[in-house]
């Protein structure tokens, strides 16, 4: 049998897979439709939590994107989220302009900050990069308090301006956050097939081979971090907008860790539904378990362990006695 004939062997499963994809697409459409209609039924607090959930879902996506395309972990993405949130607040306070301008501006500033961070750290990877990002998250509260003149110090700033005058604030927050989340997940689906997306995946899986195709590791690291930071900042801008306020309390070291928790819980997925799972986990769990207080991080820890164990269940077999390994 020739090599080319061998290739046919694995073709059997393809039609079934195609049907599966259509079903997945339909269920995502149904999910979006349900979310679009939800404000007709639900009110006040649920809409507010869901708006925050969408914004957090975007922040989780930014971390997952870095994991998927860069193979890197960041525990300091709260820095870029804060940058976006404060961009919206400061632009409103100083210039009186709504998020129509500050939302794209936040993404641009996030990209700029991501690049400024990634370029000098382009030779760092793994735990070293994670620790470097941790420095960002640790420095953040000090920076926010230090630049009190702009950031409002401990008290933070309010965000009051509407994007669409006359529409209720709750509905605006909800629909704009949802629209951006849907748009970003569509963009990410498109990115997976783009030349840059393929190049980044190759650079992560086979760095040497990628290099031989003209894709350098520094290019890959700097680009994915810049993109991820831009997305985090965009998410931050929406977080600020949806919660109508920014303050150093919302961007502690732990919020960076929680974003990573959200990413792990969503299995680093880049789809809309994965992002919603991650966003919902880090938004709704603390909101609805507010009484649990100090137990929330413990719960997160347990969830992390469980998800990691379940996701890697296949690999766990090697801990079994040899006879039962298969």
């Amino acid at each position: 049998m020739a090599v080319s004939d061998l290739a046919h062997v694995s073709k059997a499963g393809v039609p079934a897979r195609a049907g599966h994809v259509d079903l997945a697409r339909l269920s995502v459409l149904a999910l979006v439709a349900a979310l679009l209609l939800l404000p007709l039924l639900a009110g006040g607090f649920l809409l507010y939590s869901l708006s925050l959930c969408f914004a957090n879902a975007l922040a989780v996506l930014s971390v997952s994107m870095l994991v998927r395309y860069g193979g890197e972990v960041s525990i300091g993405h709260s820095f870029f989220v804060a940058l976006g949130a404060y961009t919206v607040a400061i632009v409103e306070h100083r210039l009186g302009i709504s998020i129509a301008v500050s939302l794209p501006l936040a993404a641009l500033l996030g990209a700029g900050a991501g690049f400024v961070f990634a370029f000098p750290s382009r030779r760092l990877s793994g735990i070293y990069l994670a620790v470097a990002t941790m420095a960002l998250a640790l420095a953040l509260p000090e920076v926010l308090i230090g630049f009190e003149k702009f950031t409002g110090g401990f008290e933070g700033l309010y965000i009051a301006q509407d994007l669409i005058p006359g529409v209720s604030k709750a509905l605006q927050h909800y629909y704009i956050a949802l629209a951006v989340l849907v748009a970003v997940s569509l963009a990410l689906a498109h990115f997976r097939k783009s030349a840059q997306g393929l190049a980044l995946l190759m650079a992560q899986a086979q760095p040497r081979a990628a290099e031989a195709m003209g894709i350098t590791r520094s290019w890959a690291r700097v680009s994915i971090f810049t993109l991820s930071a831009a997305l985090a900042s965009l998410a931050g801008a929406l977080t600020g907008f949806a919660s109508s306020t920014v303050s150093p309390n919302s961007f502690t070291f732990f919020s960076g860790v929680f974003l990573l928790v959200g990413s792990v819980v969503s299995l680093n997925g880049l789809s809309l539904s994965a992002a919603l799972v991650g966003g919902a986990f880090i938004t709704l769990v603390p909101t609805y378990l507010a009484k649990a207080g100090d137990w929330v991080p413990v719960l997160y820890g347990v969830a992390l362990v469980v998800v990691t164990l379940v996701a890697n269940a296949g690999d766990l077999r090697r801990f079994l006695p040899r006879g039962r390994a298969r």
Partner: protein, 261 residues
Amino acid sequence: MTDVVSSDGLVAEGISLAFGGLQVLSDVSMILRPGVITGLIGPNGAGKTSLFNCLSGLYHGQRGHSSFAGASLKGLGPAQRAACGITRSFQNLAMCPDLSLLENVLVGLTLKRRSGWFSAFVPTPSQRLDQQEAERRAMAALNELGIASAAHDKPSDLPPGTLRLAEIARAIASEPKAILLDEPAAGLNAVETRDLTRALKRLMRPDLVLLVVEHDMDLIMELCEQIYVLNFGKMIASGTPAEIRAHPDVIRVYLGDDSDD
């Protein structure tokens, strides 16, 4: 000007490479002419892959000089050499497991793609054209190697023979001026090796530099017109298959005569 010098092909002169105190290559020279399939053989540990890595820019020899089409390659890394039109394959199959075979080949076209960062996220007409053109070229490369039917499969679902051919498809998709293949027949069975030999002969063109590094003597003898033999980091022979077969040093190395050492 390029026409005159392009006949020079890929030239390595007096390459010496040492890792610490270990001399891996000493004063090795090699000329890879366009239109000729050149083979590099030698026993395990002879320095074949080291020389190969020097040519592809992964290693830089302490001494010596390499040039391509008359232009010096001094100080250029793999990515820059790729931009000069030199591509290589890898001994261990370097496929990305998350990508289909077609997508793995598409990555080989990265330097030829014209879509910018904006169109990476937002579909645009020009990006669609670029995508179609890239897919057409990748499919053509897969077709040339006879594995187009596996285009949409994941590498983990495919036999090593197909993946080897896919690596070569990826290397030729970008229409490079030089292709360096590192042990393309490693791990292949006799039938797959025969298919590979045919595929390589078929893709040979008068303006293409093609180097095959192998320790499979039979494959090299059948495929190559010009053969270099490396042993203990030194070039011990070069010539046509017939000359190499009759060369006393080569016979000694391959028959394992110990009295030489």
